[in-house]
């Protein structure tokens, strides 16, 4: 052997040092080559050079892992390494100490010379480089794995880190698999602990934003919708997204109960869930690889807590009662109340909007409640009912700005949010208008009705006037009938086909709702179906405007009809007066102060003038009525023809009822497209 060669013994010791990241006498870390090298100057055989380089790969890997650990530890309190990162470091550290133990044993062996059988042999050491390579085989695999993990997790934290490690753990090598499993159990334990405390206690112990549930500080009413969300980047791949959703909802339910409902009962439910799932509520009983246990825990907790939440909503906060109240008052389901309110509020609302005092209206609402069956309702519910004046423009009447609102308190305002209430308001306004039109038509009927008994009076009129009078009033009756038919059927459709059916569907869905999300969805569906079916939706806007034009026409008709019958009334009283006047002129003259019945006017003109004036009056009214009738028929025609175009909702029954005798379809087929009389 060559004398200047470095002894293998020294090299072995150097390699052992290098594998702990320490430069030895000969083997030193070479920055340029990025690895431990035996300098070229050291005179050893080519095989030894290669051997040392191969063995020192372990040192290089070790440096990497160790570097990561110490870097993380240094950053730890100041920056957010996160609890998962800490657990990862700790697990790596443990693996390294196993490795140190091995190195210590090897170093001890390196000191021992070979127990020599004969004295003749000179050669030295038991632990040769080749032997070392056998020893290093297993640590090498592990160290490589750790280095890969360190590389892939450098920039990650929390759930994302756990997910990345999980991806690496999909390996067929039993050794690797076992190693990774051990590692993952430790890495994931903080994460699972978070899940556990979130699901069972609603606590978000997540200082470093590692958990896949994020919380935002929000007001109580939007806690459910916006308070918490899933952070998909932090969702490890071994937790499925549906499971994550359930986890999110369960914790959210607890927080909702705690914050909005001020309820304590959930703790019992959670404890029950934990025992049912077979774990205690203590810490650290879940681990990686036990997805089943996690799933069953979440399932049990979700089932119980959601049920508890719904119980609280239904029983303590009377969700159903509130919904019913909204239906009765805002959606005009309580007929006597609405009728009475319309009666007493009507005169007030005919005033210009800016002169109306909302206090007075509130008083009227109060008296409407007191004098209808609404008085027997729950005072809690009635408290929520308010008058609301909407912002008004110049020229608006009270009718345009009056509305009712329902004030829902926490936690019910999670369901009845402002946007939901705004939609209720829209529906209310529509229904209110419909009611008002109906009311107006009934009012018109009231004025029309007494005139049917005036045949005695008719006889006295000259034939020409009589004919005209009969014709005009007949035209008025026919038009009224037509309008009434339309309004009644629309009213029926809205009340029974829309509101009641939606309500019964809603009740059914409420029964089967499993959690608050289901409930919200059911309510949303309920509201949506009402909005869509009452033609308030986006897609039926043209129909809706046509409908409002029709309403306005009917209201205009009412004023004309009123005018007509006022006139007829006037005429009647006048004619009786003229007949009277022959007997007792002076008496009647003294009583008159009306414009039409200006004493001078009637007195001088007598019967003939009266006839002439009446004829003129009736002609005017007749013209007006014709104009309205024409406009009404054309608009109504448009409405009818648009009905079948609405594909998204089932309007067949409305159509069927409106056109029950097939009068309109006959008319349509006869006149082609136009429906003019």
């Amino acid at each position: 052997r060559e004398e200047n060669e470095v002894s293998e013994e020294a090299l072995v010791r150097d390699v052992l040092y290098a594998c702990q990241g320490i430069d030895g006498n000969y083997v030193k870390f070479d920055e340029k080559a990025d690895g431990y090298m035996l300098p070229e100057l050291v005179k050893v055989s080519r095989a030894t050079h290669v051997m040392v380089r191969k063995l020192c790969e372990l040192g290089w890997l070790f440096r990497k892992v160790k570097g990561y650990i110490s870097e993380s530890m240094e950053r730890f309190p100041a920056e957010d390494v996160g609890t998962v990162g800490q657990a990862f470091c700790a697990a790596l550290q443990d693996e390294l100490s196993e490795y140190y133990k091995l190195l210590a044993v090897l170093e001890g062996q390196a000191m021992n010379p070979i127990p020599l059988v004969s004295e003749s042999a000179t050669s030295g050491n038991y632990l040769s480089l080749r032997r070392l390579s056998v020893w290093f085989a297993e640590p090498m695999v592990k160290m490589r794995l750790m280095a890969v993990l360190v590389d892939s997790c450098k920039t990650l934290k929390g759930g994302a880190m756990a997910g990345a490690i999980h991806m690496q753990a999909q390996h067929g090598d039993p050794l690797v698999k076992q190693f990774m499993k051990r590692l993952l159990r430790r890495v994931c334990s903080p994460l699972f602990e978070m899940v556990r405390s979130w699901v069972l206690e609603g606590e978000l112990e997540d200082i470093f934003a590692e958990f896949f549930v994020l919380s935002q500080p929000v007001k109580a009413e939007s806690l459910w919708r916006e308070g918490y969300s899933l952070h998909s980047a932090m969702l490890p791949s071994f937790i499925s997204s549906s499971l994550a959703q359930r986890i999110l909802r369960t914790g959210k339910s607890i927080n909702f109960l705690r914050v909005c409902c001020e309820d304590r009962g959930w703790a019992d439910a959670a404890a029950e869930a934990a025992t049912a799932a077979g774990t205690t509520t203590g810490r650290g009983n879940l681990g990686y690889g036990e997805t089943d246990a996690l799933e069953s825990l979440v399932a049990e907790a979700a089932k119980r807590i959601d049920k508890h939440l719904l119980d609280v909503m239904y029983n303590r906060y009377k969700f159903k009662e509130h919904c019913l109240a909204i239906k009765r008052y805002l959606l005009l389901g309580q007929g006597d109340f609405v009728q009475y309110l319309m009666d007493i509020v009507g005169p007030e609302l005919s005033e210009p909007a800016n002169t109306i005092s909302s206090f007075k209206l509130a008083g009227l609402l109060e008296s409407a409640i007191r004098s209808s069956n609404a008085q027997y309702d729950d005072p809690d519910v009635l408290d929520g009912l308010r008058v609301k004046m909407m912002p008004h423009n110049t020229g608006d009447r009270g009718w345009d700005v009056f509305s009712l609102e329902y004030d829902a308190r926490v936690p019910l305002n999670t369901v009845f949010t402002e946007s939901v209430m705004a939609r209720y308001l829209r529906i209310f306004n529509f229904l209110w208008k419909l009611r008002r039109v109906e009311h107006a038509l009934i009012g018109a009927w009231k004025t029309m009705k007494p005139n049917s008994v005036t045949s005695r009076f008719l006889d006295k009129l000259p034939n020409a006037v009589k004919l005209q009078l009969v014709l005009t009033s007949r035209r008025c009756q026919v038009l009224w009938d037509e309008m009434n038919h339309f309004v009644t059927n629309l009213q029926y459709y809205i009340m029974f086909e829309v509101l009641e059916i939606s309500w019964s569907n809603f009740l059914k869905e409420m029964e089967i709702a499993k959690d608050l999300d289901d409930l919200l969805l059911a309510h949303e569906k309920y509201l949506c179906s009402i909005v869509e079916k009452s033609l308030l939706g986006e897609r039926s806007q043209t129909l809706n405007t046509t409908l409002f034009v029709l309403f306005d026409l009917i209201l205009r008709f009412r004023s004309h009809a009123d005018r007509l019958y006022e006139g007829i009334h006037e005429l009647q009283s006048r004619s009786t007066e003229t007949s009277l006047s022959s007997r007792d002129k002076t008496k009647s003259r003294a009583n008159k102060n009306d414009k039409l019945s200006e004493p001078g006017l009637w007195l001088g003109e007598g019967r003939k003038a009266l006839t002439q004036r009446a004829g003129e009056f009736l002609r005017n009214i007749g013209k007006d009525l014709d104009a309205i009738a024409n406009e009404y028929t054309s608009v109504f025609d448009g409405f009818i023809s648009q009905l079948p175009v609405q594909q998204h909702i089932d309007l067949k029954f409305l159509m069927f009822r409106l056109d029950f005798t097939e009068f309109y379809s006959h008319l349509q087929s006869k006149t082609g497209t136009k429906l003019l009389p």
């Binding site: 095989a47 290669v50 050669s123 040769s128 085989a137 690496q168 390996h171 039993p174």
Partner: protein
């Protein structure tokens, strides 16, 4: 390597032979773990990573050279295997390769330990080249065999089951060498373990946990279970999960069973039942031996899954009740609702298919269902009606997968009837929910519908003839028309007999017995696949025996029915128009409408001469009779000709033609 060579001032030849041997042994020990020594170097062929060659310094003693060269194949194998282990441990190569590489690594560790031992011997001065050669012997064969396998694996980039199959076949090919064989079997065991874990999750939980796509079952996520209830050609059950080509050979016989086991488990999961096959610890699928233990495990899992699913479908989803309810409505097993429906929907159904309002029919159907005994059936809400656009014959032709026995000779003859009405195209449909849609799929339902349409039309013809018969009864006693009425009533009777026999044949000779056979077989079915099979067999058989698969016969029957309908319409018209006075007297208020007609017709008919009218009536009736009997007789030969192949036709012939009864 040049720098090393430069320092080699002396060629090996300069040394004494015994020194040379020591140096060579040291170099060989290095070479055995793939490291170049002083005088042994490694030549790599460029472009081919897996071929390396060892070379010795030419100045070495020739004997030493030769003995060193003997050992080189081992060194080459080591290098190759080592390289394979390093590369295949990367995650992209799949679980089987990982496990295989891990097993190889364990082997290499043994090998390295051997080399270290040899070194120890060498240090003690007890190792010669010859001794080295001797100690290497046991390793030579196995390393060689492994390197052959490895070359194949890396050349073809095998993953998953192909690796397993290769190992398997190599083990068989090297069966002669006991050591190699047992070594390879150990490798197979290790590699299988990874594969079996995937298999286990599939067979026990129905989950494909296969990150690298090695498993032999693939899932086609685009096939939705909803398609079963909508699509006639739904492939969900057949193709949602399918076998790939590369099934490991040890599982080849069980592949279908494995597939169905997981499929069943998945069906249960889709229904919201989290089912896990309970496994005893000792019967787990951990190893594959020659004792076929694994096949027994798979069988056990299959039995469990299939039993569980069958139970679920039969008990919880109550398949039999559903089938029974379908039979009530689609096979006209319960008649009262149908009679009621035909009464109230007659007007709507006699319109053209395009004019029929499906909503109106639906509401009439609902009315019929709710006012009759059908209301007691909890499933009656699932029934819906639909109006198709084509006749039954055309519809049959569009369904290509039905095995129509005799092809239609002239397709032109299938001209669309001009007056096709809702009566010909009306059919019922039935809402079926998952998982029952597995059995009662769109396809099965379509077959039910075909049968229904045929039956429905027969019933309609029957009703029309009955109405005609009633009319005859009204005028018979009067006998004003001479023989016209009696001729006509004879014809009416034979027509009624025909249609009644046909309906009887369809319901009592075909549907009922077959249904009962199916019912009994379903009770004893072992798996859902059997249920599906029995059900489909039943439908197929019914279709065939209802003549729906033989267009020639069907067309004959259709023509006969058409004749009956024409006759019924004509005779009603004739009787009401010509025999107005008597009908008024005879019907005596029983036919309200007749009175009205009588008022209108009386004056005209009184002016008509009775005799020529009567003659033409008789003439047309006789024409109907001729046509009808000709058609009916022409059925005879067809039926008797094909009754050899299809024995059920004998029954039909017996009923319709009275063959074999009158004798």
């Amino acid at each position: 390597a040049d720098s090393f060579d430069a320092r080699l001032d002396k060629a090996i030849g300069c040394y004494h032979a015994s020194i040379q041997e020591l140096i060579v042994i040291d170099d060989l020990l290095s070479a055995l773990v793939g490291i170049e020594g002083r005088y042994i170097s490694i030549k790599r062929v460029r472009g081919k990573e897996d071929t390396v060659a060892f070379q010795v310094d030419p100045s070495m003693g020739l004997t030493l050279q030769e003995s060193a060269k003997r050992i080189f194949p081992l060194c080459e194998s080591y290098l190759l295997i080592n390289q394979f282990v390093e590369s295949r441990s990367l995650s992209k190569h799949g679980l089987v390769n990982h496990a295989f590489a891990a097993a190889l690594r364990a082997l290499l560790l043994d090998y390295q330990a051997l080399v270290a031992q040899l070194e120890h011997q060498f240090r003690l001065g007890r190792l010669s080249v010859q001794g080295l050669w001797f100690y290497c012997q046991p390793m030579m064969g196995s390393m060689q065999a492994l390197s052959i396998v490895i070359r194949k694996v890396s050349a073809n980039n095998f993953i998953g089951s192909t690796v397993l199959n290769l190992l398997q076949s190599q083990a068989k090919a090297m069966a002669g060498d006991h050591v190699v064989r047992s070594l390879l079997e150990k490798m197979i065991q290790c590699a299988n373990a990874a594969y079996l874990r995937i298999l286990e999750r599939w067979v026990y939980e129905g989950v494909i946990d296969d990150p690298y796509g090695e498993f032999f079952i693939s899932e086609n996520k685009s096939l939705q279970k909803e398609s079963l209830a909508q699509d006639y050609d739904a492939k969900y059950w057949q193709q949602r999960y399918s076998l790939k080509d590369d099934v490991p050979s040890f599982l080849a016989t069980a592949a279908e069973t494995i597939l169905t086991t997981g499929k069943y488990l998945n069906v249960m999961r889709e229904c919201g039942h989290n089912i896990q096959v309970p496994v005893a610890e000792n019967s787990k699928l951990t190893s594959v031996g020659s004792n076929h233990h694994h096949l027994e495990c798979i069988k056990a899992a299959y039995d469990y899954a299939s039993g569980e699913l069958l139970n679920l479908i039969k008990e919880k989803y109550d398949l039999m009740a559903k089938l029974r309810s379908i039979k009530h409505y689609l096979l006209l097993d319960q008649g009262d609702f149908l009679v009621h429906f035909m009464d109230i929907a007659r007007e709507e159904l006699s319109k053209k298919p395009d004019d029929i309002s499906a909503e109106k029919l639906q509401s009439l159907l609902d009315l019929a269902l709710r006012t009759t005994a059908a209301a007691a059936d909890p499933c009656h809400e699932d029934l819906a009606c639909c109006v198709e656009k084509t006749t039954l014959l055309k519809r049959l032709n569009t369904l290509k997968d039905l095995e129509i026995s005799q092809t239609v000779s002239d397709s032109n003859e299938l001209e669309e009837q001009l007056s096709i009405t809702g009566l010909e195209t009306f059919s019922l449909s039935y809402k079926v929910q998952w998982p029952l849609s597995l059995v009662i799929s769109r396809k099965a339902l379509t077959r039910y519908q075909l049968i229904f349409r045929f039956l429905f039309h027969c019933k309609h013809v029957n009703r029309q003839l009955c109405a005609a018969w009633q009319m005859h009864q009204g005028v018979r006693r009067l006998d004003m028309q001479g023989i016209a009425i009696s001729v006509s009533s004879l014809l009416c009777r034979s027509m009624l007999r025909f249609i009644n026999s046909l309906v009887h044949y369809l319901t009592f000779e075909v549907l009922e017995p077959n249904w009962h056979v199916m019912h009994n077989r379903l009770q004893t079915a072992k798996s859902i696949d059997e249920v599906i099979e029995y059900h489909e067999f039943f439908l197929e058989k019914c279709l065939r025996e209802c003549l729906l698969l033989s267009p020639v016969l069907l067309k004959k029957v259709e023509r006969l029915k058409l004749l009956c309908l024409r006759y019924a319409a004509a005779i009603q018209r004739l009787i009401t128009s010509s025999v107005d006075i008597p009908t008024g007297i005879v019907s005596n208020g029983s036919l309200e409408t007749e009175k009205y007609k009588r008022l209108k017709l009386r004056s005209r008919s009184q002016t008509l001469k009775l005799a020529p009218e009567n003659a033409s009536v008789i003439e047309s009736i006789l024409k109907f009779e001729r046509d009808f009997s000709a058609e009916l007789q022409s059925l005879g030969p067809i039926l008797s000709n094909s009754s050899r192949a299809e024995p059920y036709l004998t029954h039909l012939a017996q009923w319709i033609l009275g063959v074999g009864k009158d004798q």
